[in-house]
């Protein structure tokens, strides 16, 4: 490109203005990246859900239990491949402000239904064998520096009392969207103690997880499950795991939508910042553009000069912002309560959106200055007093 030298040198005419514009773009890109990361982290549970898993819960509310006796009835439905169940345990480990999921589940079947929680054969066998054992996600193990053989004591709230578990395995997430911050232990271990302490709550199941053979049959199987318990004291609601996760998000959808909107408003702000800089620059150079035209430079050359400069500034600002977004997201993750977002990382789509936004902004900010430069007659350009 014959005008490359000008594209690079032009932004250096007003170093302070260019620096401030680049910083403005960088800050806006960081804000955009951070907001998008929060939004994608919010949806990670939905993204990580499996198409061949159904969740059966109490029809009235998730907080009401289901009877253990439903297990065999659901298992008999045609198309059900595996069945497991779980209870939300709650409780506190060391710090009540640091949250991670603690789940009492059927030790025999839970990891058959969740193959994305990867364990060694030895870890799984030991876990199944020892009733007071637990399995941790590697994120939680790393956070609390827990290793196999360590003892964890939970202070119960939904299930009162102190609960001791021996770590017998640390699962690794198979996929990027797999939650690596769960603690899973024996439902039987919890249930036995409940039989003694609170017999009226023994045998309670929080939800059933139904692995089906064919995801295309999820609607039919869901209907069949719910039909089994129609008009019973504990009617069920069965839905896909994705729908179940989305149900949790529904309550916060307004916040997420707002964050989404704000992230794109930020893109608009960047456009105004750069647009302002480019308009000022083009106005100051009206006479120069007239000189270029008089020397024989065409509209194509002027477009290259102005568009190139705009893209150069937006690319530098966007690049600086993007590079800084990574450490800032890591720092942000450290200050929010642990486990609040099981997976908190910059997604490729966020990077793609930020880069695309920077390019689009560079183009959009140059449109008006280009139009002005091209439409100004040479003699008017020479007469222009900026």
């Amino acid at each position: 490109m014959k005008v490359l030298k000008l594209i690079i040198k032009n932004p250096l005419r007003h170093k302070l203005r260019t620096t401030l514009t680049i910083l403005g773009i960088a800050i806006a890109v960081i804000s955009f990246g951070l907001l998008r990361t929060v939004v994608t982290a919010w949806y990670v549970g939905v993204e990580g859900s499996s198409a061949n898993r159904l969740i059966t819960r109490q029809a009235v509310s998730f907080i009401f239990p289901l009877p253990y006796s439903y297990r065999d009835k659901i298992a008999q439905i045609e198309g059900v491949k595996n069945l497991t169940y779980a209870n939300w345990f709650g409780g506190v480990y060391i710090d009540k402000n640091q949250f991670f999921a603690r789940i009492a589940a059927d030790a025999e079947t839970i990891f058959d239904v969740y193959p994305e929680f990867m364990l060694t054969k030895d870890e799984l066998e030991t876990f199944k064998r020892e009733r007071n054992s637990c399995i941790l996600g590697e994120g939680i193990a790393r956070q609390y520096n827990l290793k196999v053989g360590y003892i964890m004591t939970l202070e119960g709230d939904i299930y009162p009392g102190n609960w001791e578990f021996i770590v017998r395995g640390i699962y690794r997430p198979r996929d990027k969207t797999t939650d690596a911050s769960q603690m899973i232990f024996h439902w039987n271990y919890v249930n036995e103690r409940m039989k003694e302490d609170m017999p009226e709550r023994s045998g309670d199941i929080g939800w059933y997880i139904v692995q089906i053979e064919d995801p295309a049959k999820s609607a039919i199987i869901s209907e069949q499950i719910d039909a089994l318990f129609k008009n019973s004291p504990a009617e069920t609601k069965t839905e896909t795991e994705r729908a179940f996760q989305q149900g949790f998000l529904a309550a916060t959808s307004a916040i997420i939508d707002s964050m989404n909107v704000i992230s794109f408003i930020i893109v608009g702000i960047i456009m105004l910042i750069l647009g302002n800089t480019m308009i000022m620059a083009a106005r100051e150079r009206t006479r120069e553009y007239a000189v270029f035209k008089a020397l024989g430079f065409s509209g194509k050359h002027l477009t290259q000069i102005i568009l190139g400069e705009s893209l150069f500034i937006s690319a530098v600002g966007g690049g600086v912002g993007l590079v800084l977004t990574f450490p800032i997201v890591v720092a942000f993750e450290k200050v929010i309560p642990k486990g609040f977002f099981p997976v908190f990382q910059i997604e490729p789509i966020t990077v793609i959106l930020a880069v695309s936004a920077a390019i689009l902004i560079g183009i959009a900010a140059a449109i008006f200055p280009i139009q002005r430069a091209l439409s100004t007659k040479i003699i008017d350009g020479f007469r222009f007093v900026g």
Binding site: K2, V3, K5, L6, K9, N10, L12, R13, R287, E288, V291, F292, K293, A294, L295, G296, F297, S298, K377, I378, I379, F382
Partner: protein
């Protein structure tokens, strides 16, 4: 001697709001190849407008402009731009150098529109800057040069493509007496040694006196020739 510039019955008027302001009235002029012509006249007489039209950066409202065999009043914008880059060298009152480029890069600008290689461009630029006596200031930026030196860089930029015509609008208007003298001497040299046809617009009778021909304009009309 053949006429390189033929201005035939050219009129020009501008519109200010809804009022038509006539600038040139049915004006005709011929300039021969190798002439050095000074256009003089009071402000508003139309001398710069005439120069701009001959240089192809403004268009007549009526009439014909034939420059070096081309009727430029019929050319489209893109063809006119190409024609200008090949035929015309511009010198402006305020030099109009690009401040972020060095003297060398400023002079090289018109050559970027040609098919010359980098090495060929370098040779041409060095020659042009050598002619104006700034061979040792090639890598200086405009702000490191005096007004006279800046104007000499502008002249080097004007001649680097070897155009047939040089047009200069008040080339000494922003210079001190000594620098103005240098510029006028340089233009004389370009006319005599390099046979460039030169048209300058000036208010300064001393500057005009260095031209071979002086033509005066008044209220858009050309006053009969004074040899």
């Amino acid at each position: 001697m053949s006429a390189i510039i033929q201005v035939q019955n050219v009129s020009k008027s501008y519109w200010r709001d809804s009022f038509e302001v006539p600038v040139l009235n049915d004006l005709s002029l011929e300039v021969n190849r190798g002439d050095f012509v000074a256009l003089m006249g009071p402000s508003g007489s139309g001398k710069t407008t005439l120069l701009n039209m001959i240089a192809g950066i403004d268009r007549p409202s009526k009439g014909k402009l034939i420059v070096d065999g081309t009727d430029i009043s019929t050319l489209g914008e893109s063809s006119l731009a190409k024609w200008r880059s090949a035929k015309i060298g511009f010198v402006f009152q305020f030099y109009n150098l690009i401040p972020v480029l060095t003297a060398f890069e400023n002079v090289e600008l018109p050559l970027l529109l040609t098919k010359l290689s980098k090495a060929e461009r370098k040779k041409h630029v060095e020659t042009a800057l050598g002619i104006v006596g700034l061979g040792d200031r090639m890598h200086h930026s405009p702000k490191q040069l005096s007004g006279g030196q800046e104007q000499r860089v502008a002249i080097a930029r004007a001649i680097v493509t070897d155009p047939v015509i040089l047009v200069a609008d008040e080339p000494t208007g922003d210079l001190d007496k000594h620098s103005a003298e240098e510029i006028l001497t340089l233009m004389e040299r370009l006319n005599k040694e390099f046979h460039k046809t030169i048209l300058i617009v000036t208010h300064d009778p001393h500057a005009a006196s260095r031209a071979k021909i002086i033509r005066n304009l008044e209220k858009g009309d050309l006053i009969p020739e004074v040899a």
